[in-house]
Amino acid sequence: MKGQCLTISRGCTVAVMLAAVSWATNAAAAITGITGSSFSLTAKAGHIAGGDGVSLLTWGYSDGAGTMQYPGPTMIVNQGTIVTIDFRNELPVASSIIFPGQVGVTATAILGTGVPGMLTLEAPASSAATTTIRYTFTADHAGTFQYQSGTRPDLQVDMGLIGVLIVRPSGFPLDQWAYNHVDSVYDREYLFLYSEMDYTFHFRTELGLPVDTTTSWPVYWFINGRSLPNTVDPDNVPWLPTQPYGALVRMHPGENMLMRSVNARGNVHPQHPHGNNHRVLARDGRLLESTAGAGADLAETIFTANYTPGQTEDAIFYWTGYKLGFDIYGHAPGDPLEPFEYAPDHGKPLPVFLPSQLEITYGGGYSGSPFLGSMGDLPPGNGGLNFFGGMMYPWHSHHEKEVVNNDIFPGGAFTLLIIESWGTPIP
């Protein structure tokens, strides 16, 4: 929804009246997932689209009898819940689910007979009609956790059997905290599940050929199961029926944005979220605290996050344009301050003279104005991807080879952060 132009000084300013849409916290700003205490996950085959359009046979978890999805459904439970997950297996190989970070997981066959595997009890191949394995545990700690196949993980994790479990702390949603401490308060949250695929595993599996996993050489990288350009598409777009989760990040200046990051594949990814450092509160579902109850007193602020495979990390990202050195809204000195605006820069002009339009090539992300929330004239055919005059930052893996789709740039584990002015509603 576009705002009305109020002034025509340095371009159009989106009406601040739209800020009547609340900037107080809320629940709309939550990660998409399924909630409750009893879940049904089925391992089944399907196809996903790589960012270059390749179609890859994928093994993923579906929500009950639904469509296979990559990653599996994000399960969101409350702390203290006894979680039961009934697992069925439609794959042509035995499979299972393990829950790193959960203590006291029990696995029993409530229908049919399971097969004891190396890591947990497994459902035999193609046994969905006759066998159900029930995994049970008490989610006694808040945090971000991953789940994955516990059977031949070197193959099955690449094939797509990964997902995320989020445990809300006691007292949620009254306090929108990630853990049981005010240090973890946030306004909106986003999930970043990193994964990758060696397409030869998928092609060979589809043809019934054996896979030597010691030759693993991924060339597709994903955030939330999608590669750029699809990372910036919304959730549940019809052209990606098996990849329901997007990875576009949008926030207002001054909000605490909770980044729940999970490395679900087998390599270290140095993730590089441009725009500011982020403050890491917790790893592996445990606050970085010196003693129990101290809160995140051992939190560290970093600008590149190296996630160990299997690890989860919770961090707060915050942006205000602090000390950028110019008024990011293009205000005149007498204009009122925006929420969280860095007052000493108020009214300061842009420190450069912008070249004329005929001397510049514009990317799709330029709104026509360098100011937050403002649009401006652009030559025909330019811009068009920045609907609200936001400021865009690339968030990407800094293993530069990972921002490609099978050697084609741009692609891979690459998404965008858009800082939107307070007048812009963000769902």
Binding site: G117, P153, D154, D212, G285, S290, T308, Q311
Partner: protein
Amino acid sequence: MTPKTMKTILAGALPAVFLMLATGPASAIDFYLRAEAITKLMPDPAGGPDIPIAMWAFARDDLFQGLELEAASIPGPRLVVPPGDTTLNIHVDNNLAVPISIVMPGQVTALTPTMFTDATGRQRARAFTHETPAGNLTAVTYSWTGLRPGTYLYHSGSHPQIQVQMGLYGAMTHDAVVGQAYGGVAYDTETLLLYSEIDPAIHAAVAGGTYVPFGDPATQMTSTVGYEPKYFLINGEPFRPGITTDIPVGSVGTTILLRFLNAGQQSKAPLLLGQYMHVVSENGSLYPFSKERYVLFLPAGNTRDALMTPAVGQDGRYPIFDRMLNLSNAGAPTPGGMLRHLVVTP
């Protein structure tokens, strides 16, 4: 054939043995290591008989060219330096056909690199420190004083991309005080988990004489740039279903120390399923605050010490597997690689 294991499950037993063998001043300990060429058997991914892999390994003798105390093994003999000893001397007997040496990252000593002049007249380093020549008749000694407590790797400092891969590596551990890995870090039982890799192509080239730097790429291996390990070992063995035994690590209500070492060339990520670890140190340096994790980042050449404190009622069998997914034996479709089961007794 399983190598002689050095997994200590009761603190105190081994240090007492080594104290009896110490020579020289009471604050020093001496070890006598001998480098040998051996053959190690690795599983055939096609299910046939085991495949012999040429390797180089350390054995331990009571004296230079004396009686063998421990047969050559992968990894090499664990060197347990008791708390009271702050000087470590390793005397080397080299029965290989190439010079070797010993370095111990994390422990401080003066190094005297061995140099050579290359084809263009430049001075190049061939070894990080002084060498032990092939077939030496007198012991060559490597010494460290002011020894720091913790968990360390020792390995060859000569042509390391070949010699370490061939098997010249092992663990050294030194407690600060009896029963304390570092000052204030007490433990009841301990287990050592040393991760390493085998790229059979390199071993075959070295053993067959076809590893030739500046050689003919068409017929020889001229560098290790194409490194692609096929076997992934914990304490010298890949996981073999039905054969690899569980590792008893201790009992509930106690503090179990897990010492992780990575003698391979690639990072590893041991993930403990069903329990958390408290990681207390890296590379022999104690953290000011421990880190509560279920997965540990273990880069090449690194060590980590972690404590497990299973509560009463949490006895059981806990898998620990490499989350970088090195879980296959040369491509076999069955479980393998870096997987073990740690058993906690009631």
